[in-house]
Symmetry: D2
Amino acid sequence: MVGASKAEKGGGPIRLGMVGGGQGAFIGAVHRIAARLDNEFVLVAGALSSDPARAKASAVELGLDPERSYGSFAEMAKAEAKRPDGIEAVAIVTPNNVHFPAAKAFLEAGIHVICDKPVTSTLADAKKLAALVEKTGKVFVLTHNYTGYPMIRQAREMVAKGQLGDVRVVQAEYPQDWLTEALETTGQKQASWRVDPKQSGAGGALGDIGTHAYNLARFVSGLELDSVSADIDAFVPGRLLDDNANVLLRFKAKGKARAAKGMLWASQVAPGNENGLKLRVYGTKGGLEWTQADPNYLWYTPFGQPKQLLTRAGAGATAIAGRVTRVPSGHPEGYLEGFANIYQEAARAIRAARRKGGKPDRDMVFPTVQDGVEGVAFVEACVKSAKKNGAWTKL
Amino acid sequence: MVGASKAEKGGGPIRLGMVGGGQGAFIGAVHRIAARLDNEFVLVAGALSSDPARAKASAVELGLDPERSYGSFAEMAKAEAKRPDGIEAVAIVTPNNVHFPAAKAFLEAGIHVICDKPVTSTLADAKKLAALVEKTGKVFVLTHNYTGYPMIRQAREMVAKGQLGDVRVVQAEYPQDWLTEALETTGQKQASWRVDPKQSGAGGALGDIGTHAYNLARFVSGLELDSVSADIDAFVPGRLLDDNANVLLRFKAKGKARAAKGMLWASQVAPGNENGLKLRVYGTKGGLEWTQADPNYLWYTPFGQPKQLLTRAGAGATAIAGRVTRVPSGHPEGYLEGFANIYQEAARAIRAARRKGGKPDRDMVFPTVQDGVEGVAFVEACVKSAKKNGAWTKL
Amino acid sequence: MVGASKAEKGGGPIRLGMVGGGQGAFIGAVHRIAARLDNEFVLVAGALSSDPARAKASAVELGLDPERSYGSFAEMAKAEAKRPDGIEAVAIVTPNNVHFPAAKAFLEAGIHVICDKPVTSTLADAKKLAALVEKTGKVFVLTHNYTGYPMIRQAREMVAKGQLGDVRVVQAEYPQDWLTEALETTGQKQASWRVDPKQSGAGGALGDIGTHAYNLARFVSGLELDSVSADIDAFVPGRLLDDNANVLLRFKAKGKARAAKGMLWASQVAPGNENGLKLRVYGTKGGLEWTQADPNYLWYTPFGQPKQLLTRAGAGATAIAGRVTRVPSGHPEGYLEGFANIYQEAARAIRAARRKGGKPDRDMVFPTVQDGVEGVAFVEACVKSAKKNGAWTKL
Amino acid sequence: MVGASKAEKGGGPIRLGMVGGGQGAFIGAVHRIAARLDNEFVLVAGALSSDPARAKASAVELGLDPERSYGSFAEMAKAEAKRPDGIEAVAIVTPNNVHFPAAKAFLEAGIHVICDKPVTSTLADAKKLAALVEKTGKVFVLTHNYTGYPMIRQAREMVAKGQLGDVRVVQAEYPQDWLTEALETTGQKQASWRVDPKQSGAGGALGDIGTHAYNLARFVSGLELDSVSADIDAFVPGRLLDDNANVLLRFKAKGKARAAKGMLWASQVAPGNENGLKLRVYGTKGGLEWTQADPNYLWYTPFGQPKQLLTRAGAGATAIAGRVTRVPSGHPEGYLEGFANIYQEAARAIRAARRKGGKPDRDMVFPTVQDGVEGVAFVEACVKSAKKNGAWTKL
């Protein structure tokens, strides 16, 4: 039962700006807590809303210096780049279609970017963005937050070390129920932009949560996806984007082993599921199961032996899980802590970039722009496959 | 906390014979316990093995009259049909390929049939059998035993009554792990015939357990399947039949509602899964979830309300569940009781047939030869789809 | 996934009679199913009710020979003892106060006894009965049925083998909710006799379910109880016997280890608990947890290692569990199978007694009249302690 | 699925100091994260260790102004009280025996106190402290952090509103396993002071975790404890304080209802339990069950209806739970968020005190010095009872 204050640093926190996340938004507040939790970041500037009044009111509520509350991300990138105390990194927490232009503006202004997923609303933009990250050399962190959960880190390590043998089957699912009815017609802000192709891109449930499930499957299995066969539906009358997606997965073969197969289900119309993200990975030597709603547990079965319940910071936890753990086993950590772990990794990367010749932390692990490209490619391949009546489609 | 001895009858038990189920078999013993549990059947004859020595030894062990231990099902059908005290029904518990000829022999001899699943090893045989059942007017019960679980009965009733609204999504899965390695090469009898196309038919995991998952999905949802897109693998080197099947499902539309979609996963190579049969059904008004390993529970979520844990014989249990329940809530019933419920329904049907002009019980519910046809059609459609690289294939 | 027909015998079944268990009773039907499940017993005689009309109707329903449906247990004991085909054993399933006179009558008539718990309604009677069993040499099986669950057998073995080290703490509980309101005033038969001191004895919840929890704690831990401190209540106005009992336990020391301690909670007024029997045992080297509602699982934690989920017939199951198991892992067994295991052990004992010089099965394990004495002693000690404001009271 | 940034304020954060919590400590880091999570506090001063070198090093690590890193709490209280920018509140996170003198020093210096539990190491000190809080009028918050969990708040509200009817039975337990062996002899700091009567007071497991369980039982049930009967042990050889406590509880009657009863188990030697705090409350109309390891769930059974699984921010969550919730349902919150909720309530109280004539928030709910007195009284009553062989002892 060792405690840990590992993330607390004597050095000054990183100056952070935010695009989006004003009043009425959900994910902005999550980013702010995640940034603050380990004392690694301090929020000093924002372009918090495309609506000027809301932007201003939000800035006041957050205690920002009024001078540093901007009317647009473009203005903010420009102004902050000039200040000696300007932001070192920006968090982009807008609807998907704004990710690309905003990220572009900050990268070109020499500012690191922490960006919500999916990385962009089109694959073409995602690729352009990846090229820009490469060119500028800036840190780019994509908040596929579920990869921040300690037991997910451990699961990834177990697979990488061969504890499951050759992976054969990967089952990923992310069911929700909040869009079972036409919530978007009630003016609910979260629902409205998510079902609008202009703001979300080609995928509905696929883009919003399918990308999380897919990212997690890749992150833990260490496999690359070859192709998909998808059957997608918009069950709620009048909805333009999918609210349920059933997808078959074929991974690329690794070594001599037969290529792994899988299924992915993303749904926003499955009553009784709040955020039912679940991942199961099975190999020749064992199996793993993990559920987001109960993230401190990882079920592990070495084939032919009893099932083990590994717990965060518990008897079977490894160093890699411990590195992103704050409290002893049996004291649950949750969504915010997992999210904060992504911010913590971002901080490490940004601090490494601060130092001349600073070597990046060997254990530093966070979703990158390349993961973002993969995610958007996944969405577009699914949509393409679905239009071709489920034809197998390469990513 | 009232108990129930509802199945105990003053009338004499039904005389039963058995084909297969000799020493070393698994499912034969299950059928015998199921037949005996409610005192509805008495086992009086058998052709317990194709190996004469094993047949004889098995009959002795079971206390059968040596005269009524036969060397073949053909001989048994003939001899028993002639006896005034001959069997009224036969249980067929052999490998799949024997189902058809054996069932044919008994139906033609005027004997009711209780048959293990899948009903036959080819669709052509299944259809012939269905015609024969029709022609002879005999009772034919297919032991899709999972439909016997009380909470599954209740789930079916809830869907039928509209408590879920229009069904949109059906997720069915049946993972196991016992064939993760090449158990069939060790002489293990259960494994050997299941991976042999000559004895099993076109499906491996698909036929053995996929048919169960599919049958349950149909039984509960009340939907008919339109077509499938399947990706199947034999992961264990040298295995000829699938040990993992990932299948997309399209159901037929019902009324004006958009057609329901689903996925079905059957696997025998998923370490950590013993008999992980699970069914989830989601509609416009609510969702249901049920797991075979914990069959006394049924999760029900009316959309927008808290999740409810319905329990067998508990506060939320309905009459339809109570009808196939023996002990009070909180005292778990299991696999054998569920199996016995199929035998109990069979007994009702056979007793009704005994009576002149006897009306069949309105509530009588058991899987029929037609369900068997559907099951084999499902397997063959999946195999066909898989051979065409997942092309959508009608049943 | 090996099957098992281990309990099926070529030899003829044991002839069984029953006292109590007529229409409206609960536990009688359970005993009959348990006796029948493995084909070890055949019910041939009964004194099924103290109400002659009900006794007769019940006998007809069960298909008993009318000659062998008796008006009283005394008559039955006498008549059956004289018949060449008379019963070899009797199941006594009446309210508690009838256990003693009925058991006495049959033992003295040379008939083995299978008796429901608590063994008698007073400690004095229990001791007399124990002496009589000793004197007659007959088999006496007390149906503390929960000791029949396979994982409970395994738990007991694990403790005996030292896998938990020295036992320090034992926590047993058996909460129910069915007597939360005054059900006994509605004419419900099960409730009525249980709350009546004349029929039940000194304990209400204590006698009905507390004895089960206590018996299980002893059975698994292998410890003997030294003394109790109890606080008991009848929460429902007008009720004469306890419906909630909170008890502290002190076990006798074993070897040099400090004596183990524990708590026991029995309640019939705890809404949300159907049959919440639960046992937890903790020692210097590990811990075990088991819950009756999910009996196929046994949680085992070797200290300092991850928690393991042992499953009936699964990877970590031992031979001792396998011996009382009928179906493969992942196919749940329940209450009736556990109950049948007691009958199976009884059959082994009775068959051994049949044989001249027959050696009893070394592994034969069932609750005896001595366990019954312990149970009634526990109830009386608790009631005595409660009357003395919780003074520690020896058994 | 709306998000919430409810705790973020435009006003400046509260200036906080800390006593204890230097390197090697566990709970100090937890307090710092909890204070920071909602941006309500800023840590500006500390007396972080009684070891000067460790105090200095810890202050550097936390980025404190060296001038405000003090060698003792006395010095700190004096110095900070004089500064115009001095701390407004102090968090005391030392071993128990330091709580009283430190709290006294700060209260007398006019500084609000946030103090870990148990409030003091003796009941006499606790009473003195309560008087001092009364006299000074300062805010005093005791971090019984489990009362901060949203579903615990909801449980309390449900009981208060009568949804359970009259409470009859309260079962509280807090098992752990980390002291199963003599960890204190290895130099482990957390273990060492907890088993030392000079630093901990009269209770071992009782004081460390039993007080939490007791506090939670009172908080949710709304009942006051009348007396206890305790049986306590130090199972690990050489240990001076209890590592296992079995306690019977008698609550004071409320209105005409029969007084409620309960049991409390606190253990640090129960292998397989990490932080198994669990509370169950049963009344005439329903029951509630909650487990700390899975804090986002609250089981609720209205008597005679199906069990409901209430979830934080889910369909059945009430406003009172929503008030201390940050993320949507299905995204788990954990220990740190619950702890932060106590800090959030403290902030509200301190801000109210800032304002002239400021009315305290009606919904403001946090454990007070009076709860602390109750907790120490509970520990001392248990120890007293145990010494008198379990005699019922008034608090």
